[in-house]
């Protein structure tokens, strides 16, 4: 079953059989999207517990969307999930929780290049949450300015400027290692 099929065949129903189908369809979506989405939440929030919570909440909201919103292709689904996750992150910051508490326990021991890895984490820690989001969406997820604008609710022009600033700050931090 492709991701597009899963999304198209995703009717809400109370019957047990169709629920089983729902879960199978959801599994395809989850397998393809959960890992990158979780990495995004983890790097932007900096806390594993927060990333876990928000990932669950993101999929709960995704599953409880209205029937009329169910016809989505793969790109739209991905974009929709990132939009929910981004809104949830923003809600967390607004509710006064720490924006980035570096959670050293959330990662296993580093095998390859510990110095480089620590530098990326420190670089992210030094950036503002918005900058972290933009850098991750642009450079890891490869999203265009228009896609990022849809996800974050900012204008494409603002994204361009904010991303340029974030990239320069990030590059400056990486160069000083």
């Amino acid at each position: 079953m492709t991701l597009a099929d899963s999304i198209t065949n995703f009717p809400e129903s109370a019957s047990h059989d169709s629920r089983a189908l729902d879960e199978a369809a959801f599994q395809v979506i989850y397998d393809r999207t959960a890992r990158p989405l979780w990495a995004y939440l983890l790097r932007v929030s900096g806390q594993r517990e927060v990333a876990d919570d928000l990932l669950q909440e993101t999929y709960c909201r995704f599953l409880s969307r209205k029937t009329g919103e169910q016809t989505m292709n793969e790109t739209e689904t991905r974009s929709y999930l990132y939009r929910i996750a981004t809104n949830l992150l923003r809600d967390r910051w607004r509710s006064g929780e720490s924006a980035f508490c570096d959670d050293a326990d959330h990662e296993e021991a580093v095998e390859d290049d510990p110095a480089a890895k620590i530098d990326v984490r420190r670089m992210m820690q030094a950036l503002k949450p918005r900058a972290r989001q933009l850098l991750w969406l642009a450079y890891v997820e490869g999203m265009s300015h228009t896609e990022i604008a849809e996800i974050t609710g900012l204008s494409a022009m603002s994204i361009r400027l904010l991303l340029l600033r974030a990239r320069r700050t990030a590059a400056g931090l990486l160069k000083t290692r």
């Binding site: 397998d31 709960c60 599953l63 990662e107 991750w136 450079y139």
Partner: protein, 151 residues
């Protein structure tokens, strides 16, 4: 700050994904600070993302599905009890209106209490009614708050 974006930046990003930069692009990157920064930051972040993905696992599907089911059930319960909540609010409104109507009726019929004239009796009844209203609303708020805290 110069906010002009290098026209090769998109091409640089594409090359990072495909892993095949053209010779012209490599030459350009040597002289373009923007593109060099893009490569530096993008490579560092993508390496980090790759490390994260290989070393950590997100919550299992079963956990997320169970949580989603719980949300669905709570939403269904909220929908089912919506009518009861409307009835509760209507009951409170009815109670308040009834108290005021009763006070008005008693005052209109000139009910007197032993040792008091009509005006004093009305004032006592109104005071008692308002006290009951305030105590009732205070209790209701306190019980609701307790209910929220225990949930």
């Amino acid at each position: 700050m110069n906010t002009m974006r290098c026209k090769y930046e998109s091409e640089t990003m594409r090359a990072l994904y495909t892993g095949a930069p053209s010779n012209a692009l490599i030459e350009h990157q040597k002289n373009c600070t923007d593109c060099r920064e893009t490569v530096l930051v993008a490579e560092a972040l993508r390496q980090d993302a790759s490390d994260l993905a290989s070393r950590n696992t997100p919550p299992s599907l079963a956990v997320v599905w169970a949580e989603a089911e719980r949300h669905r059930q709570m939403a269904a319960l909220a929908r089912a009890t919506r009518f009861l909540n409307i009835l509760k609010i209507a009951g409170v409104v009815y109670g308040v209106v009834f108290i005021f109507w009763a006070l008005y009726s008693l005052a209109a019929h000139g009910l007197t209490m032993p040792g008091l004239d009509v005006r004093s009796s009305n004032a006592v009844i109104e005071g008692a009614g308002l006290a009951m209203l305030f105590i009732g609303s205070g209790l209701w708020y306190t019980l609701r708050r307790d209910e929220r805290l225990t949930n």
